[in-house]
């Protein structure tokens, strides 16, 4: 066999292996979706079936009509959307100022805030809970939002991009033309930051969408649950079958996986940037 043919054979083998690994990794999720189409009776069969024998849509119908699933999805969407807006807005403005306005005071405070980035949210969420409680904002999207208004990494990401891709000369030219500082930020700087801002937005949205520990302490009322908390508390709130739970989980999971596949480029950009911060 020639060397070329051997390489080709090896690569084909590697491809098969990789397909197998990917398949194994995705199996739990595929099975979850499959469970959503099973009848409650089939869920109790031993040995368990991997794919539904006679698929039914009943679970999905039931889940959407008899439980507040839509309400929870709406809550999660609102929370994730508002959190994304807040994080993008604060990061864009603060990142620009820190990157282009070298005043000592600002820089010192910035470094102080940056160090809080390594402290996990779980460490300070109990005092934060009492702050939210004092505002009377428990069980509301507003209260939930208080934990997710800013992201140190976001400010850092924008600052790096401002330094790397916005030349001082451009800002000076605009100033000489008599442009106001805010106009410069809005019309000159923001359009140049589209890429990193999109990456940050995707990251912020998924962060809020998937968060669990914070909403589970802030939200105790069924109608205010986010989808994550709702799903986790499903069984205590309703006596449901596993098939219903799977249907609900699948109904939430499939769109978010699709969204990820579509936005993968931005997502990967954001994540890898976070890995390169040292």
């Amino acid at each position: 066999m020639s060397a070329k043919a051997r390489t080709r054979r090896n690569n084909a083998l590697i491809d098969i292996l990789l397909f197998l690994i990917c398949f194994v990794l995705l199996t739990p999720l595929i099975l979850l979706v499959a469970n959503g189409f099973k009848t409650p009776a089939e869920m109790l069969v031993w040995p368990p079936t991997l794919f539904p024998k006679d698929p039914t849509l009943e679970n999905f119908q039931k889940v959407f009509t008899e439980t507040p699933l839509l309400r929870w999805i709406f809550n999660s969407l609102m929370f994730a959307l508002l959190s994304t807006i807040a994080i993008v807005a604060t990061s864009a403005l603060a990142g620009y100022i820190i990157g282009k306005f070298p005043f000592r005071t600002i820089n010192i405070i910035f470094v102080l805030f940056l160090t809080t980035a390594i402290i996990p949210f779980e460490v300070y969420m109990i005092p934060l809970y009492f702050q939210v409680k004092a505002l009377g904002a428990l069980n509301s999207i507003g209260g939930l939002l208080i934990g997710y208004l800013v992201m140190s990494f976001g400010i850092f990401l924008i600052r790096q991009n401002v330094i790397a891709s916005i030349p001082d000369e451009l800002l000076e030219a605009a100033r000489i033309d008599g442009a106001g500082e805010f106009w410069i930020f809005w019309r000159v700087v923001l359009p140049l930051l589209k890429g990193p801002l999109a990456a940050l937005a995707v990251l912020a949205f998924f962060q809020a969408w998937t968060t669990f520990a914070w909403p589970i302490i802030v939200l105790t009322r069924k109608t205010s649950f986010t989808i994550e908390v709702g799903l986790a508390n499903f069984q205590s709130a309703y006596t449901v079958e596993l098939s219903l739970l799977s249907a609900a989980s699948a109904a939430v999971m499939v769109p978010s996986v699709l969204a990820f596949v579509l936005l993968r480029r931005h997502f990967v950009e954001g994540i890898t940037a976070s890995g390169m911060k040292e």
Partner: protein, 295 residues
Amino acid sequence: MLRRKRFWFAIIAILPTFAIFGWVRMFPIIETLRLSMFQWNLLSKNKPFVGFDNFIELFGDDQFLDALTNTAVIAFGAMAVTIPASMVLAAVIYHRTKSRFAGFYETAVFIPHVVSLVPAAMAWKWIFDAKLGPLNAAIVAMGGTAQPWLFDPVLSVVCIIFLVSWQTLGYGVLIYLVGFRNLPKSVYEAAQLDGASGLQSFIYMSVPLLKPITLYVSVVTLISGFNVYTQAYVLASDTQGAPGRQVRVLVLDMLENSFQNFRVGYAAAEAVILLSIVLLLTAIQFGLLRQKGDR
């Protein structure tokens, strides 16, 4: 004059962000440190200062020690699985970069990392289920004996390690892929000319060259492992089939002390310990990185 004007613009523009930061980050962090020195049962008005009593009590508290052990085992266990697996997987995917499936591989491996924890944990919960799950069915079919995966104190921790690794794998692969892409190609070409096999260049070149990345991914995995909570919550929760055994982890113990036992100061002390672990890990990372830079 111009500088002054610019200074005021900068201050006004950054003030809201700094104010929010102070309010939702700095203040609660300082409050955690402060509360850890107080005894506060949530209901009573007076909060006596108790110094380090909370910490002393914690180290005699079986539930806390159990939580600390479990959490450490989960964090280090997940790291031990994730690091080698993601490095090898990234190497293989990098090797097939030119393949038309490369995008598919990257996406598929990363999906478990972006899926919300609760649905993902539900999927695994069914797989691990002692009475109805496919894992036991497969074991029995192959002539083994069914295991009480989510009941047994050791097995339930193994299940959580498995679940956590499954989710961090994609993150590790992604970061390693960036690392592989940044490696100097010439070194590999030279090695190939000298007759090094693919496996040899992986072991003798990629592994040492990627050390900073390995360090980074290890610390990130460890820190997120120490914050594990959702997985334990969902795997233990009560669905039809059977409830799993509660694996006590730090965050769970902390929330229970705060909101069920109403011992906020005590819970804050736990949070401070969690913080110390995270800071220690970060310090080790920076220390090792600097050491490398000096050479």
